[in-house]
């Protein structure tokens, strides 16, 4: 069984994922995602009525730390891997909106 994902659906997911895919990639991705999702469909066979979702492998609660300062990174280290910086800030192309 294979899930019917259109090329457009996949393109939308690519935008949401912020992945620029070329035409070949988009085609392959459409086919492969369809196959994988088709396989995953078998989960629908499982009766999960009343079963709590399990988001963590070990279900701990109440893990806190005290409000105490720990060492910070010097600015130089913070910016050391930045693709573009002026030595003070991370630089990105001009953005206007506040979204």
């Amino acid at each position: 069984m294979s899930v019917q994902l259109s090329r457009d659906d996949v393109a939308k997911v690519a935008l949401l994922s912020r992945l620029k895919l070329d035409d070949g990639e988009l085609d392959r991705m459409t086919e492969q995602l369809g196959a994988i999702l088709g396989y995953v469909e078998r989960l629908s066979e499982v009766d999960t009525e009343g079963i709590e979702p399990m988001a963590h492998a070990v279900e701990r609660t109440n893990v806190f730390r005290a409000d105490v300062e720990t060492p910070m990174l010097p600015r130089e280290a913070a910016l050391s891997n930045a693709p573009k910086t002026d030595g003070q800030y991370f630089l990105v192309p001009q953005i206007f909106d506040a979204g």
């Binding site: 730390r65 991370f90 990105v92 001009q94 953005i95």
Partner: protein, 493 residues
């Protein structure tokens, strides 16, 4: 056209913790040294992991309790995913379906003096983003000092009905948060930021209500801005409705920005895709369960909240709602000062007059906080006690007050007050012999014959100039007492 304005507010409040929400990185406003307050967690470096700040959680619970919310016994953290340069992980750790606080309210008093109960849908704990700076030039700058600051997001019901009410709600909320000492609420520094959701219910002649599309105005960082934005949007939406007739649901929710300089809202460039935050529980953080016992402990630390204190002051000192509000709105320290003055002088009304007028005026003019005010509350209280006891006039007390303000702080004592009263002869003459002697002199003066006759003839207002003349012969006297005695004497002549 008849309409009602419908407003709901989303307020983001930065919590006053020493460190950030998920790491021991310092939490301090510091725009002058960008990117100097980070660590691997703040930067969202590969491999870094969040650990919840216990104090941030506790403060958020306090906020929820003060807003009369249900506090969730089980709560968890979710990732809200979107790309923006100030969001280093490309997701914000927030709360989605199980917020820490829900279903509360905040009472406000509107301009008509009515109490309005504004519903709180939810209040949850989340992390702040960094800051993008646009200073022109080809690049925008990103400072991550703010990233990871603990925030409580407080979402109100759309219960507000005017720009003025929106402002009142924010003022009351700020006051509450200040009393709780959970935030410094410094709006210039962005500690309290507000998004407005606003639309209109247009009332048609045949009795129908038409809701117009909801608009969100984002990132308002002053109360005035919120008020202006609400007023502006109301007008804009009326015009828009008249032009287009668009109703709620006809168009997607619009997001607008606010141009403070021009006093107009403007559409924010719509995103290339509808937002899909893909919330899911953060696998790096453990959920939290709280016990009733622990909640009781936190509740005990709330202290007296502004609304309760306002009521109590009103009852205890027979203050008007207005006076009580003025005092409470000044914050806890002013209210404490007021209460000490009132207790010391024994007259709440007298104390309120002085604190709300003389003291606040001086604070404003001198740009002082009450902690820096040179006259201690007990000194002012003792001084006013003389007025209350009839030993001094308000005018005399004011003269002492003014003199005290000129003195170095360490000299502002009860003893100094005594000295000033003596030096200036401000104590009222209470010896009726002295008063009678002065009245004798005035009554014997022929130039007062006409006035005396007028008073005798029933023209009571003619007594005024006579009182003044008697007072001239006395170093200090209570004009009311002089008046009474003078009338007795004239009447009995």
């Amino acid at each position: 056209m008849k309409y009602t304005t419908i407003i709901g507010l989303e307020v983001h409040v930065q919590l006053l913790t020493r460190t950030k929400l998920f790491s021991g990185c310092v939490n301090r406003f510091n725009p002058d040294a960008p990117n100097s307050q980070t660590d691997p967690v703040t930067l969202g470096l590969p491999g870094s992991l969040p650990v919840m700040n216990a104090e941030a959680f506790r403060l958020a619970v306090k906020v929820g309790m003060a807003l009369n919310c249900e506090i969730a016994r089980f709560t968890k953290w979710d990732r809200k995913q979107y790309y923006y340069p100030d969001l280093p992980k490309a997701y914000q750790i927030s709360q989605y379906d199980l917020p820490l606080c829900s279903d509360g309210f905040l009472d406000i008093t509107n301009a008509e003096g009515e109490t309005r109960r504004i519903g709180i849908i939810r209040a949850h704990l989340e992390e702040d983003a960094g800051k993008n700076l646009h200073e022109g030039g080809s690049d925008s700058k990103v400072d991550l000092n703010r990233a990871g600051t603990p925030l409580v997001e407080i979402v109100s019901q759309p219960d507000l009905r005017s720009a003025a009410e929106a402002k009142q709600y924010l003022e009351e909320l700020k006051l509450l948060l200040t009393y709780l000492a959970v935030s410094d609420c410094n709006m210039q520094e962005g500690s309290l930021r507000c998004d407005v959701n606003i639309n209109l219910h247009v009332h048609t002649d045949d009795g129908h209500n038409i809701p117009t599309p909801i608009v969100e105005v984002k990132n308002l960082n002053s109360f005035r801005g919120v008020e202006m934005a609400c007023e502006y949007e109301t007008k804009r939406q009326i015009e828009d409705f008249q032009k287009t007739g668009q109703r709620l649901g006809d168009v997607p929710k619009q997001t607008r920005g606010w141009d403070l300089a021009r006093g107009v809202s403007y559409p924010l460039r719509s995103k290339e895709e509808a937002s899909d935050y893909r919330y899911f529980p953060d696998p790096d953080l453990a959920p939290v369960t709280v016990t009733g016992e622990w909640l009781d402990e936190v509740r005990e630390t709330l202290g007296e909240l502004p609304a309760a204190r306002r009521d109590r002051l009103g009852d205890a000192w027979q203050l008007s709602q207005y006076d009580a509000s003025v005092i409470i709105t000044q914050g806890q320290d002013v209210a404490d000062y007021y209460e000490t003055v009132a207790q010391t002088c024994g007259d709440g009304k007298q104390a309120a007059n002085w604190v709300t007028q003389d003291v606040l005026r001086e604070l404003n003019e001198r740009k002082l906080s009450i902690a820096q005010f040179p006259i201690p509350a007990t000194v002012l209280g003792n001084l006013l006690n003389r007025v209350v006891a009839g030993e001094m006039t308000v005018k005399g007390a004011r003269e002492v007050f003014t003199t005290l303000l000129e003195l170095p702080a360490d000299q502002v004592t009860d003893a100094t007050v005594e000295q000033i009263i003596t030096d200036k002869g401000l104590l009222l003459v209470t010896d009726t012999g002295e008063v009678d002697k002065a009245i004798d002199l005035v009554l014997a003066d022929p130039k007062h014959e006409k006035a005396i006759a007028d008073v005798r003839g029933g023209k009571q207002q003619a007594v005024g100039p006579l009182i003044g003349n008697v007072m001239k012969h006395l170093k200090g006297a209570d004009p009311k007492a002089v008046r009474t005695r003078l009338l007795e004497r004239i009447g009995g002549a």
